[in-house]
């Protein structure tokens, strides 16, 4: 196995891109990443995407994106793992470079969601759940998370407003990220008054439907060591799964897939949770942020919300999360999200996070979750000195 | 003289019975508020309205499950006929009865069919089941009368057109909670109420629905049955007649010589409206819920077009232990959520979006 480094990053602004379609969003991110990496050719391209077929009528994204990126002929495939598609594409790129099958690999996550109506997007996103036993009963993706949040509040005695710090923190950080969808501050009062989507989840608990693309270029770490550029090494890449349907989980509040994925990653990187300087977690909903913090070992069971209430998730806290806005404020173009998370970790580790810079960030973790916790992909990145 | 009775080769009876009435109620004052400015008398106090996820299939399933629960340990695989009478089957083509048969575990060796005869469709299925078991074609047959009745907005029928149903498991007399003493059917071509193909709402003959239709058919059927059985109104503990409103069954009972206390237990129209094919059959479930052994019950349905089925029943000792095995009719009547006209319009699909 070879050490793998991220040698280039690129991203589009997340939002409503009425002028750009799927392939041009991917192209913009991918070209930015290649410029950043100073490469002109790659050996393979992995495209992370969840909903192109359902929402834009386009599948076969590997060849399509390769063609329109001027990479015709390159090895290219689409990778799908629901909302975890982006990190899954990155994971395959990592495997290829680490295993010596490819030297320079491009992983791009892309999603074009805004052409669909609200109910269409709701139906499409629900495909991440169990079609026969959840979706056929009218469950939406929001509703699944609402079931978790309701039970969490019941078991641990939290009130609705206790979840506000997740949203307030994400929006505060998004203010300084030019690529974020939202640049609006959210107050606890605004959170308390937000429109209900699926009780107890309101609009400000939920990440927005958006368009976007992000890309990274991977290469053997040895190629960049000694080049004078900062070396950001992928110290761990771990995938774990759990039952797709919430009702099939041994303990719905445990997010066992996330725990398995995180602890596998800690093992690979040879670190402990305390050594992680920032955590880009999958805050598609506030409850997911709480459960991820617990599963990854940053809070004990039932104390993820407590950690946020204590201010420990902010840029100056014990474990900064959503440092560039997270899924909540940066936006959640589903199949692209996992790559955005890693791009943002690289920004932090390179010291390029501007006003949101976590001081002396050396170890960053990104965790991308597909479905309500069924596919969980964790990457740990370490800046070499 | 050849008897007018529909005779069976062996004695049959009701093994189990069950009702279902939806949770929602539309007060008649709501219809009046929208269509008459609140003026005028209303024929009932309120009517039962099916929720947005209910139809004749779902109503039949719950009523049938209650009937099977009361029957005790009857293996559904021994039911040889599943028949549903309704004027509001959810499909124009595709049987309600196969869905019901599948849901209660009676498939696949079972006769299944849907019956149609306006409000008489349910007793028609019941009478056929009596014949089916009475001839020995099968040990058990299930008959259901259920409707989610629709009325043209603003029509007089809108006060009463209601949703609900009842199911009866028919079997050998020795297992019955009520034995069939005799039954007959009385029909003529009397066009008092109809719905043409592809039409949402029925049309009716107004006042014509009264004398030559409802009163004539029910009275003739009741008299003919009592004459054939040698009974008089005084021999009955209970009587139940089709109830399109409160007044009609009260009037026909008086005409026949029944006292108000004989029809009280089964007269539900004031609180649930007219459940069409379910109407007299739900009246009967309410009677059976409170009946004691060895009591006699007369049931006469009426369906437009037109006809009446009359059935005479006598309860047995078995009724005591079976009454409590499923929710009583009054449990469903007590379960009640009032809705306004707007929600009613949405629930019943009167709003096209």
């Amino acid at each position: 196995m070879r050490d793998v480094a991220v040698i280039g990053i690129g991203q589009t602004k997340v939002g409503e891109h009425w002028e750009k379609d799927l392939r041009h969003l991917a192209l913009e991110a991918l070209q930015a990443a290649m410029r950043d990496a100073e490469v002109e050719r790659v050996d393979a391209l992995y495209v992370g995407n969840m909903l192109s077929g359902e929402l834009t009528g386009q599948e076969h994204l590997g060849a399509l994106v390769a063609d329109f990126a001027g990479l015709r002929g390159v090895e290219a495939v689409k990778v799908e793992a629901a909302c975890g598609s982006g990190a899954a594409a990155l994971r395959l790129g990592y495997v290829a470079v680490a295993g010596g099958l490819a030297d320079v690999v491009l992983a791009v996550g892309v999603e074009k969601m805004t052409d669909a109506t609200g109910p269409e997007a709701t139906s499409a996103l629900a495909m991440a759940a169990d079609a026969d036993h959840e979706v056929a009963h009218g469950l939406t993706f929001v509703a699944l998370n609402a079931l978790l949040m309701r039970r969490y509040m019941y078991e641990y005695g939290y009130k609705k407003e206790d979840f506000a710090p997740f949203t307030v923190n994400a929006h505060a950080n998004g203010m300084n990220n030019p690529y974020a969808m939202f640049h609006t501050k959210v107050t606890p009062e605004a959170y308390a008054k937000a429109r209900m989507i699926a009780d107890p989840i309101n609009l400000l608990d939920s990440s927005p439907v958006a368009d976007g693309a992000a890309a990274v270029v991977l290469a053997p770490a040895d190629w960049v060591r000694g080049s004078g550029k900062p070396v950001v090494r992928i110290a761990a890449s771990a995938v774990a799964t759990d039952a797709v349907a919430l009702h099939d989980r041994r303990d719905p509040l445990a997010l066992e897939g996330a725990a398995l994925s995180a602890w596998r990653a800690y093992g690979q990187a040879g670190i402990r949770p305390e050594e992680v300087d920032l955590f880009e977690l999958h805050d598609a909903f506030s409850i997911m942020a709480a459960l991820s913090l617990e599963a990854a070992g940053f809070a004990r069971r039932g104390e993820g919300v407590r950690l946020a209430l204590d201010g420990e998730i902010t840029l100056r806290g014990r474990i900064p999360i959503a440092t560039m806005g997270g899924l909540k404020a940066r936006g959640h173009p589903v199949g692209a999200t996992g790559v955005y998370q890693v791009v943002e970790v690289v920004q932090q580790l390179r010291g390029e996070a501007g006003a949101n810079q976590v001081p002396d960030a050396r170890v960053g973790m990104a965790q991308n979750i597909g479905g309500s916790g069924a596919t969980v992909i964790t990457h740990i990145l370490i800046r070499e000195t | 003289m050849e008897t007018r009775l529909l005779r069976t080769d062996r004695e049959v009876g009701i093994i189990g019975y069950g009702a279902y009435i939806p949770r929602y109620r539309l007060p008649a004052t709501e219809v009046a508020r929208i269509w008459t400015g609140g003026e005028g008398e209303t024929p009932v106090t309120e009517k039962a309205v099916a929720g947005p996820d209910e139809d004749v299939v779902t109503i039949s399933i719950e009523a049938a499950r209650n009937a099977l629960a009361r029957a005790g340990n009857v293996d559904p695989a021994l039911i040889r006929a599943v028949w549903v009478g309704s004027e509001s089957h959810p499909y124009a083509v595709k049987p309600t009865s196969t869905i019901l048969a599948e849901a209660i575990g009676a498939t696949p060796y079972v006769q299944a069919g849907d019956w149609e005869f306006a409000c008489k469709a349910g007793t028609e299925a019941l009478q056929a089941a009596i014949g089916f078991v009475g001839s020995g074609m099968g040990r058990y047959a299930l008959a259901v009368g259920a409707d989610t009745a629709q009325a043209r907005p603003g029509d007089a029928l809108e006060y009463t057109a209601a949703s609900g149903g009842a199911a009866y498991l028919v079997g050998p007399a020795e297992e019955a909670l009520a034995v069939v003493e005799g039954s007959l059917s009385y029909v003529t071509d009397t066009p008092d109420f109809w719905r043409r193909a592809y039409q949402h709402y029925p049309s009716h003959g107004g006042r014509f629905t009264g004398e030559p239709a409802y009163f004539k058919h029910i009275a003739e059927a009741a008299r003919a049955l009592m004459e054939a059985l040698g009974t008089t109104p005084a021999d009955y503990d209970y009587a139940v007649f089709h109830q399109p409103n409160v007044k009609f069954p009260q009037t026909v009972a008086r005409q026949l010589g029944f006292k108000p206390e004989q029809i009280g237990a089964g007269l539900l129209a004031d609180r649930i409206g007219n459940t069409y094919a379910g109407s007299s059959l739900i009246g009967l479930t309410a009677i059976l819920d409170g009946a004691r052994p060895d009591q006699r019950i007369l049931l006469v349905s009426f369906g437009s077009g037109a006809g009446s089925d009359a059935i005479s029943l006598r309860t047995t000792e078995a009724i005591r232990e079976r009454q409590g095995r499923a929710p009583a009719t009054q449990d469903y009547i007590a379960r009640r959520t009032v809705i306004d006209y707007g929600l009613y319009v949405r629930f019943r699909g009167k709003l096209r979006v």
Partner: protein
């Protein structure tokens, strides 16, 4: 899209809560999956569940997928069956504010969705507060 055959295939579990029981370790399984989630042995023996259970968690959907707009707002729940397994279903005949965690519920068969005015009607299990 493929609704008739899909619902038909699932009719036993949808209409009557027919799941499975593991012959080896006795675990009742719903929804049926042919492999025991506990001991991972084969489990294909049919087992009919009673239909009684209690609410583990619930939510009310105000923004439904296109196919469910007709029924909105509606309440969904994780229901723990008395035999042990959990399932996901709608609650019916109940106002959202009446629902609570631990509420005893029973299975009823209702319309799950309809394929427009011309397609098939899918029926299946929902749960409601006990009638009595």
């Amino acid at each position: 899209m493929g609704l008739p055959s899909k619902n038909w295939r699932l009719r036993n579990q949808r209409y009557r809560l027919v799941g499975e029981i593991c012959e080896k370790c006795g675990t009742p399984i719903f929804p049926p999956r042919d492999v025991c989630p506990e001991c991972e042995g084969p489990a294909q023996t049919p087992y009919v569940f009673s239909g009684r259970g209690e609410v583990y968690s619930y939510s009310t959907v105000y923004h439904p997928p296109a196919e469910f707009e007709r029924y909105a707002p509606y309440t969904v729940a994780l229901v723990r069956l008395e035999e042990g397994p959990m399932l996901t279903a709608q609650l019916t005949d109940v106002a959202p504010e009446e629902v609570y965690i631990g509420m005893p519920v029973e299975m009823v068969t209702r319309q799950l969705q309809t394929e427009g005015d011309e397609g098939v009607i899918a029926y299946g299990y929902k749960f409601r507060p006990l009638i009595r």
